[in-house]
């Protein structure tokens, strides 16, 4: 076996990605690259109104078009039992609107034609008569007694409450902490609606064979096994007759977790048309109708005593839009929002969250976030900086005083989380060193003398990722576990099948590195198989930074199972007892006689040969596992943003961004850094540009990339990264997950920096995102927007 090098690690290390070979040649296979024989094309007619009764739908003119094969409406779906579908939060969502439309862009009819241009030509030929109704677009106003009722389809629903108040923490203890406090700050903080906007939009090819009953689905989604189960339930098809293949996925970021009406229409369309149906949404459809993120309206109070943070009270409203399709484990209706107590050793906290329906697109999904942790981290980190401002203390100093200390782990938070490990102050100090914190403060003082607006913002986050333990967490009754199946072939080369689903995270490389680390098989000799429900074990997929914490653990455990089997075979080969063997990467050898051993290659040959196997053992060298994580993992990090605000235009520029992440052991540091870069860019987008807004009639104002602004290379600085490594004590590799950390941690650092830039000169103490020039300018003029 060739010796490992830094360029070619057999195990963990910087290894260039296998998947690049096809992508740099333009040879990836994304959904729209697939053409099936006889395929026809679907297009969705959408509602122009946010809230309107449907009086009539006339499809005759569209049907008369010579190249239109079918037009499907709610009436047709009713006969198939597909007019409504369950959401991932046990609500129901109209597949095609029959009674009324409840958000602008809602699906009303589905046209199938011989090509995509014609399918879209036919949409305006459908005549829908609407009776417009007043729309509800503001979460706080949704509960006004005279607010129009949105969900009159739901028996017993008399208001726009989507879920009852959910609480965490101890209200009385929190009240006591506030009664005893020296300083209290209060803020109304909005985490605005934004959208993951992956570069590839959502779509599906459905191919139903009426003769065999087999349904083949091509669909880039983040959880193919869970999707298959839901399709089986919704469509009444046999689960084993459904196959989902994802192909390559052009980004997901949470947007490709849910099942959308267009998917069900494509499946119904294939059943009706008797041909494969391709449906791919355009960018406006993606932004206006698929899973948005956030939309949390929060009221918060934080207090301190003797110079240290002691208490937190939060009252939040979640705006789910017209249907509750929030992505979260069943027992957590506000997701993991109650991690809002952050990285601090608080005396007490209390959190209340309720949810409302509005006439906006349904959601919300976790945009590069683990179930509302982004909202929680934003809130607590804004509040800590607000409290520091009120106390006249440096924001890092207040954090340092209030951190959970290393010796307190495992640490039970005031809202019930058990953080497993951490050394927060060390990570904060590394960030201060990289930033040159003292120099930055001197520079800021000098610039202020000259009238320049420079700000320094800090955030320190703790995330809970890798959902989750089956005793606590499920989605639609499905345990949040992941399978792995490892087969070592006679040649010593291996195939590992996983249930996690890459959308660009590099699983084909990093999961091969896990097998390499555990078995000593070079990563180029390990094929990672995924993205096909017929060829991978059951599991819940990739979101909530759960690939490495759950699926990565599964691959480590299954590799160790194979290693244990290999030990028994090696003992037979070496005519010794298994307990007399020791392991070095790739080889079992006899303790005290290291020359005498068997490599994994030798053992693989033996396992498939005609030679004797150990007593009671079948041939072959493979294993499978379902991994149930004992706890979440808790990555954390210290982020510092340096911004300049143009005094003339109020434009905010992120000049520097320092991110120090502790995600435990890093399997491929190159891939980890890449994940952090991408998350930081999306965080800059959310902080400064990305927002989905509506006018009073519920018209979506950000339905294209002309209006929904995402950062380009010009808005992103040259990110400066650092790391500390505190291994997760319960993860087999000590890893914690990282994909979402940068998106969770960066928005509060940036907003804190903008407020820091404007506080002294302009008296600004609060700003909501996105910090656009118009909003920052208004704040500089002393007329911030009123709270919603």
């Amino acid at each position: 076996m060739a010796a490992p090098t830094a360029e070619r690690p057999i195990g963990f290390g910087r290894l260039k990605r296998k998947e690049d070979a096809r992508f740099i040649r333009g040879q990836g296979t994304y959904l729209d690259d697939i053409k099936l024989p006889g395929m026809v094309y679907g297009a969705v007619l959408r509602s122009p109104y946010a809230h309107a009764r449907i009086v009539s739908i006339d499809t005759s003119e569209a049907l008369a078009h010579p190249n239109v094969a079918a037009v499907i409406t709610a009436k047709d779906l009713e006969t198939l039992g597909l007019a409504w579908m369950p959401t991932i939060s046990y609500d129901t969502q109209a597949v095609l609107a029959g009674d009324k439309v409840r958000f602008q862009g809602q699906e009303v009819a589905f046209v199938i034609a011989t090509d995509e241009y014609i399918a879209r030509d036919a949409l305006p030929l459908i005549d829908v008569e609407y009776e417009p109704l007043p729309a509800v677009v503001n979460a706080r106003k949704a509960l006004d007694p005279d607010a129009p009722l949105i969900r009159d389809d739901k028996t017993g629903q008399t208001d726009n409450l989507a879920s009852a108040t959910w609480e965490a923490g101890d209200e009385e203890a929190a009240d006591r902490a506030f009664a005893e406090a020296d300083t209290v700050v209060t803020r109304d903080i909005i985490y605005p609606r934004c959208h993951p906007a992956p570069l590839e939009t959502c779509g599906m090819i459905a191919d139903f064979n009426p003769q065999t009953g087999q349904l083949n689905i091509y669909n880039g989604n983040q959880a193919p096994h869970a999707h298959r189960t839901v399709y089986a339930q919704v469509a009444g098809l046999a689960e084993h007759m459904i196959r989902i293949q994802t192909g390559d996925i052009g980004g997901g970021f949470g947007n490709k977790v849910p099942i959308y009406p267009g998917y069900v229409c494509a499946i119904a369309g294939s059943i009706v048309a008797g041909a494969p149906v391709k449906w791919i949404e355009d960018r406006s459809e993606n932004l206006m109708s698929t899973g948005f993120a956030r939309d949390y309206v929060m009221h918060a109070e934080m207090c301190s005593k003797d110079g240290k943070i002691t208490g937190l009270r939060v009252d939040a409203i979640a705006d789910h839009g017209a249907f509750d399709s929030t992505a979260q484990p069943t027992k957590f209706p506000a997701g993991f929002f109650h991690i809002v107590c952050g990285s601090y050793d608080l005396q007490a906290s209390h959190v209340k969250v309720k949810a409302v329906y509005t006439n906006k697109a349904p959601g919300g999904v976790a945009y590069r976030c683990s179930f509302r942790i982004t909202e929680a981290v934003y809130l607590v980190e804004r509040m800590v900086s607000a409290l520091a401002l009120e106390m006249g203390v440096d924001p890092i100093e207040l954090r340092m005083r209030s951190f959970i200390a290393p010796e307190q782990f495992p640490y039970e938070t005031t809202t019930g989380w058990t953080y497993d490990s951490g050394n927060y102050a060390e990570t904060m100090r590394v960030a201060m060193d990289i930033a040159g914190y003292d120099d930055l403060r001197r520079e800021r003082a000098e610039k202020r003398e000259r009238g320049e607006l420079m700000g320094i913002g800090v955030s320190f986050f703790t995330e809970g990722v890798g959902a989750g333990p089956r005793k606590h967490m499920d989605i639609l009754g499905l345990a949040m576990n992941d399978g792995a199946d490892l087969r070592v072939h006679p040649s010593g080369k291996a195939v590992v099948s996983i249930s996690a689903q890459t959308q660009g995270q590099g699983h084909e490389t990093t999961f091969a590195q896990i097998v390499a680390e555990e078995l000593g098989i070079p990563p180029e000799d390990v094929q990672v198989r995924h993205g096909d429900t017929d060829r991978s074990p059951y599991g819940l997929g990739t979101y909530g930074s759960r690939s490495t914490p759950v699926s990565g653990a599964a691959v480590a455990v299954v590799s160790r199972k194979v290693r244990d089997r290999a030990r028994l075979i090696a003992a037979t080969m070496l005519e010794t007892r298994p307990e007399d063997l020791a392991w070095e990467k790739g080889r079992w050898y006899v303790k005290g006689d290291p020359e005498k051993g068997a490599t994994i290659d030798d053992i693989a040959v033996r396992a498939y040969s005609g030679e004797t196997m150990p007593e009671g053992m079948e041939g072959g060298l493979d294993a499978q596992v379902i991994y149930d994580p004992p706890n979440l993992t808790y990555p954390y990090g210290a982020y510092i943003a340096v911004v300049d605000v143009d005094p003339e235009t109020a434009e905010v520029r992120v000049r520097r961004f320092i991110a120090v992440d502790d995600c435990g052991v890093r399997i491929n540091p190159m891939v980890v850094d890449g994940q952090i870069h991408g998350g930081l860019a999306e965080g800059i987008g959310i902080a400064l540009m990305e927002v989905i807004t509506f006018d009073e009639e519920g018209n979506c104002l950000n339905g294209s990339f002309m209006d929904y602004l995402v950062p380009t290379a010009l808005e992103c600085p040259d990110f400066e990264l650092g790391e500390t490594v505190t291994p997760c004590p319960h993860h087999p590799l000590g890893a914690k997950g990282v994909g979402e950390s940068p998106n969770v941690g960066s928005p509060p650092a940036i907003v804190n920096a903008v407020i820091d830039a404007l506080h002294e000169s302009h008296g600004v103490t609060h700003l909501d995102m996105p910090c656009t020039p118009a909003r920052v300018w208004a704040a500089m003029q002393g007329r911030p927007e009123p709270p919603q």
């Binding site: 260039k16 990605r17 998947e19 690049d20 070979a21 096809r22 992508f23 740099i24 040649r25 333009g26 040879q27 990836g28 994304y30 729209d32 690259d33 241009y117 906007a197 992956p198 570069l199 590839e200 939009t201 390559d248 996925i249 052009g250 980004g251 970021f253 355009d282 960018r283 406006s284 959308q503 660009g504 995270q505 590099g506 190159m670 891939v671 850094d673 890449g674 994940q675 952090i676 870069h677 991408g678 998350g679 930081l680 860019a681 999306e682 294209s704 990339f705 002309m706 995402v710 380009t712 290379a713 010009l714 992103c716 040259d718 990110f719």
Partner: protein
């Protein structure tokens, strides 16, 4: 209507609808699916190809407008089994994750280096600012461009 143009060095002639976009001609008619579509509004750059050597967004050009011109797509970068330095640079510097923006980004960078073989970081950022990447935060695309600049064949 009949349209003749050069694509990746080959002369092609096809009957097309007058309204057909160049991106659809490349993808649907010629099966060159390396060029991607992402937004409809010329904002994302996933569809960038070179038209007579200049980067253009093929979702904003009709096939008919490309008649008589020379189009280069990502499929033309590798020649005789040798990767273009831009492709190699993207791999070396981890300048791609999901790969969806990659062909457009690579063609943009190819055009930049053809015009400016030794660009500064700021020149690179300006050149690629017509494209969107949701995965990399651009840092490694800048680094890959520098790598390619430093590894150009003479």
């Amino acid at each position: 209507m009949n349209v003749s143009l050069t694509v990746n060095g080959d002369q092609v002639s096809r009957e097309v609808e007058p309204r057909q976009l160049l991106v659809h001609f490349l993808r649907e008619t010629l099966d060159l699916t390396g060029t991607h579509w992402g937004c409809d509004t010329s904002n994302c750059g996933a569809c960038v190809v070179l038209l007579d050597g200049k980067p253009v967004k093929s979702c904003t050009i009709l096939t008919a407008m490309a008649a008589g011109h020379e189009v280069r797509t990502v499929e033309s970068l590798e020649r005789s089994g040798r990767l273009d330095p831009v492709q190699q640079g993207f791999h070396e510097m981890h300048a791609l994750q999901c790969g969806f923006c990659t062909p457009g980004m690579q063609m943009t960078v190819r055009a930049l280096l053809d015009e400016n073989p030794d660009p500064t970081e700021q020149e690179i950022r300006v050149a690629i600012s017509g494209g969107i990447c949701r995965c990399t935060g651009y840092k490694n695309i800048v680094a890959a461009t520098r790598w390619a600049a430093e590894h150009q064949e003479a």
